[in-house]
Symmetry: D2
Subunit: 388 residues, 4 copies
């Protein structure tokens, strides 16, 4: 059941949260796309706005006039069924619309949508509004990690701000929690919002296993590096082995060895590595190789979900061994909204949990994030599992 009042408040809060994330940026930071996976912040701001314009305003508001006729083209992402789009590798080649125009666009759409919603309680529209809000929250997470890449990839290593805490230290005693063999229910069963890829609650049979209640730390990962982990092909997938050689990967992203000591670029600037923090900015390939070296393994997403109440999570997106696939009875939404999740269900790995970049109330025990196995610019980490 959607409470429409709250949702309007959440909508307005979400819109302003996005802008708050961008507040420390210089105009120049909004524009560039240093690697294909990192989008320009102004594109995120425009795209999340376009979503509301495309799926609500232009469809339900009579006589609605789009802010600009070409923006649907500029800010569309992967919605193939809706006209032409700016291919992803070109997003960083667009200096216009300007940042200030994008802020105007945001205001225009927020204002029109607010006015429309105050007069309207059609549940179908609130359903779309809710999707749009969660869509924008997803982009808030990407915004932060894309900003980190934009700044952390710059030779001047500028900081984002002085307050963002990305390296918590766990106070828990590490231990392995045993989970009994049996049938477990997987998938979302509540009444709140969830994505279509969490639906189709279903039974999964799990063998007995033991899962770590804490994340792998920088210290443990350093042991792996120092033990020659990046040099022993037996720990790596064949594709991973090619990848570390082609990309010259020898440590997690953002690590800088200075005078024999590892430092780490953070949103507060370059800092000495905190060895007791959970490892982050590693690819699935590296997470897997680490686990091989350790003689253990990554959990499946089902093992993670079945055990998640036993550990604190939310600081790192955690790589799982599971490929991103549809649940039994998965049905994608009709039309363009159906492109949201389903069309990515190949060649990606599931991550579970959430990270320091995840907006409040955005993740859940059943939430399924997914990335290609070589990607490292999210706050990714890992947790180990032992067979019993």
């Amino acid at each position: 059941m959607i409470v429409t009042d709250n949702l309007l408040t959440t909508f307005l809060k979400t819109r302003s949260d996005t802008e708050e994330i961008c507040a420390p940026l210089q105009i120049e930071d909004y524009v560039i796309q240093p690697i294909v996976d990192v989008s320009p912040p102004k594109w995120h701001m425009g795209h999340t706005t376009w979503f509301f314009e495309e799926f609500i305003l232009s469809k339900y508001v009579e006589g609605y006039r789009r802010f600009h006729p070409e923006y649907a083209y500029v800010f569309n992402s992967y919605y193939e069924s809706i006209g032409k789009r700016v291919v992803r590798t070109n997003r960083g080649n667009l200096s216009r619309p300007t940042v200030s125009e994008v802020y105007e666009y945001r205001d225009y759409v927020t204002t029109h949508l607010q006015a429309f919603l105050e007069e309207n309680d059609d549940p179908e529209i609130y359903k779309l509004l809710e999707i749009g809000i969660h869509h924008e929250k997803q982009h808030q997470e990407l915004l932060l990690t894309d900003i980190k890449f934009i700044l952390g990839n710059n030779p001047l290593l500028p900081k984002y701000n002085d307050t963002f805490t990305e390296n918590p230290v766990s106070e828990q005693i590490s231990e392995y929690i045993s989970i009994e063999e049996g049938i477990y229910e997987i998938g979302y069963t509540g009444n709140e919002f969830c994505y279509d890829n969490e639906l189709g609650v279903h039974k999964v049979f799990l063998n007995k296993y033991a899962i770590a209640n804490t994340l792998v730390t920088n210290k443990e990962y350093l042991d792996f590096i120092n033990d020659g982990g990046y040099k022993n092909s037996l720990f790596w997938h064949a594709e991973a082995w090619d990848w570390i050689h082609t990309e010259k990967v020898k440590a997690p992203l953002y690590w800088h060895e200075i005078d024999g000591k590892y430092h780490q670029y953070t949103l507060r600037g370059l800092k000495e590595l905190r060895v007791d923090s959970p490892i982050t900015h590693i690819s699935y390939y590296e997470a897997f190789a680490f686990a091989q070296w350790k003689g253990e393994r990554l959990p499946t997403e089902f093992e993670w979900e079945a055990a998640q109440s036993f550990f604190k999570w939310g600081a790192r997106w955690e790589w799982t061994e599971s490929a991103y696939l549809p649940y039994p009875n998965y049905k994608k939404a009709p039309g363009a909204l159906g492109e949201y999740n389903g069309k990515f269900m190949v060649n990606q790995k599931v991550l579970r949990g959430g990270s320091v970049a995840t907006p409040q109330n955005h993740t859940r025990p059943t939430y399924r994030n997914f990335f290609h196995p070589h990607l490292r610019w999210q706050f990714t980490g890992l947790r180990l599992v032992k067979d019993l």
Copy 2:
């Protein structure tokens, strides 16, 4: 229990089978590698031989002298832990050793191994022998499909022979078989040979489903094409949509439209398309898109295995929806043999069944083949599933 006498016979039979497959070839056909996934036939012949030399003769036969000191380098494939190797894209750049030298190499190794085995009944060696035999059988399958590509990619479209039957017609009446919800045991439990990726028998919970007893036919696939299947983005994964545009894919591999009529290159040469034969030479992407168009889906590998006794199979490797992942408790063999399967368990899809190119006694209900989702040069097809 390995019966050593039979195994020696099987070994000799396997060796001669490989040579029989190559018998219709011209020397030139043995040499080229038209795409990265297709290896030169002489490489297959040398590589399967090297396997026996590397893992048995050079380790267990005192004073064994390798046929040629450089062949370990030339014929090694992906065994990273054993010295340098000829990278896969370079295999087609080697005119030497000649075909005749490779045949001599085969004879030399076969003869030495036979002599050694006649004097030896150490089960550890017979275990390795068995792996080597199955390794060679796998390459027999690849040999046939690689030969088909080498010839079918040639503008002269030469035939392989006049007898190879690759397009059987099913006499079964098509129907969907209902499988009840419940726990099913998956994985190999017998006493014969199987690969490590089939072990770790384990329970899987399946929902109720209905699976087709027959394969999708060329006729059904033609309907998909004629209905604009390759032009509607909603049926395709995002990566698949990019792939069909980059590669200009508009029909299965080996299809030629001549005067408005589809023909198909077969090992017997170019023939008119048999509409009642099962579709083949499609990628996972195409299999998935077809199923989307049909409003049905591909089976998981578990659904396939649980239902396989209800249908005839073996004419097409069948794409499943499952990603190629380790079974619970999967343990890879120590050392170089451990590279056999485990290191490929990312970004690939499982295929089940077997094909017209599969050697006798090589596949089983639990056999797991795997390929990247865009590949089409195997005799790949599909079977549909409906949720109930």
Copy 3:
């Protein structure tokens, strides 16, 4: 003879001219690099400043403190002998330093250099100053064409300003001027500034030829297009034929066919094509193919120089048939300044003349510009020659 007073004035004028060119830009326009050949305007502004800092201030001003220790790295271009550099394809990935910081950097260097020059009349320094001024003027030309690409490549097609005139119409009557066979002196002989690649005045023997006094027009080029010029391989170099197919080239850069009528993006925005203006934004490949179609040819750079007093020039950089090679007795300057011209003398074509983007007093009859034959983002055109 360098007049130091004038040169200081010219220096200050040049610095402010660069900033005037950028005045119509939005901050966002300063940052991006849509293709490898187009540099971000802020990079041009920083790089021309770095040149003065590197070659004068840091060498001759005692105790000079660089504005920022990392800027030498960020704004170095191809001066391999001076430390690491930001590779060209990465220039558009840098949001920092900001535009405002780059302006501060400019002020800092201009001020320091002015103060230093007012106290100093060492001719060696004025020689370097002069090179730096001409270096900055070269970048002014690039700035304008890079800005045109940045805006003209944007789907919104924003204009630069309302006054820039890029499509002059010639009032001359077209005719061919006959030049007699004989020995001609080529190269710079005056007392003003010129580049090292113009020196080495030398004799060249020319056959009799007739050269057009006017440039080829859009109208003539349209005839070439309409006659199937882009479809007939006989007019094209082999590499050009590959290029037009790979890049899908069917008309000059910035031409848009709208409702069957050609339009042209200009710095004033999208306009209908002026058929009587000289053709521009074509590659050498296209200029050559056009001449082949016409049954005539491009002049060599020597033919151009020998005849240049007979025609008006300066609206288009004119492609010549000459490859960019050293003149007899060419000597490159020692050290990093020697990298200015010499290291580009392979695989490029000479252009003669100047264009609407060329700063006043920057070009001369002996000036040699050079670009790779496929490039089109300069205001390039052509003039025809007939053998007699």
Copy 4:
């Protein structure tokens, strides 16, 4: 004046010479294309045959039946105006036609042409015959260097034969020959065969210069290497600097450092480097860098031609500083034959002389060979020039 009797003899001799070059090959050696610039020997054999079939037999012999309808497609090279062609990178992907079929094709065409010529003395046909003969001689040279690459790129380093002498030692005393300033006539003026690119005899004005009468030796080049020649950017063109880093070039092609000593793969197999032989298998980039290091330069093709009677030449194709451009009044032949030379006149460098791979009577003082500046698989060397 073409003497038809002699020409028929020359034709038959040329045909058998080609086959003699291939005599030491194994069938496998005929098939592969290890890099794009190296064509499979059987392609050379078919292509030179196709040339006679296409331009003489199929045009002038009534009722002539082509040996195979598809061969025109398979063996066409760059003749864009004659139908589709097998793109160059695909030549090594064709196992058919077999080598034996190609030999049959050769016999068929040779026999038909001989019969036709014995009955026919039309000078137009003898003109085409002459072109075809010289075309085949050019391919003989390529055949030898392509064979060297095919074998020398193989890890087994097989030899071609025991007799081919590729490393002559000059008995001349090295000295520089002074050439006076003045006008020189360049281009072919005789009555024998020459290519269209040598015609258009014309006057060139040369400054005084001194040219070495001998080629640069391996010993001198070793000094360049040992002096850090490959590590100093100031000697190299910008594109060359990128090239040596991308391709990891540290010595001439075919050099192998074994236990601190340079060896060289030759057609007789791997041998210790002969330090007194002329350097070979270097790119233009390397020749230029060597000359820079030496403080001298490469000759232009005009300087070479004006001085050639003063030195022995013919062991190495010699890189010149000249770009490959048309001579004044260059006219290409009409139709497909016009594609022979003209369409390559961009981005290539002229080489003069001839090499140990050049067939007898194939080169002349006016002969212009041309290759892209990075290529090294020909027997390329250099000669130095000093300005006076």
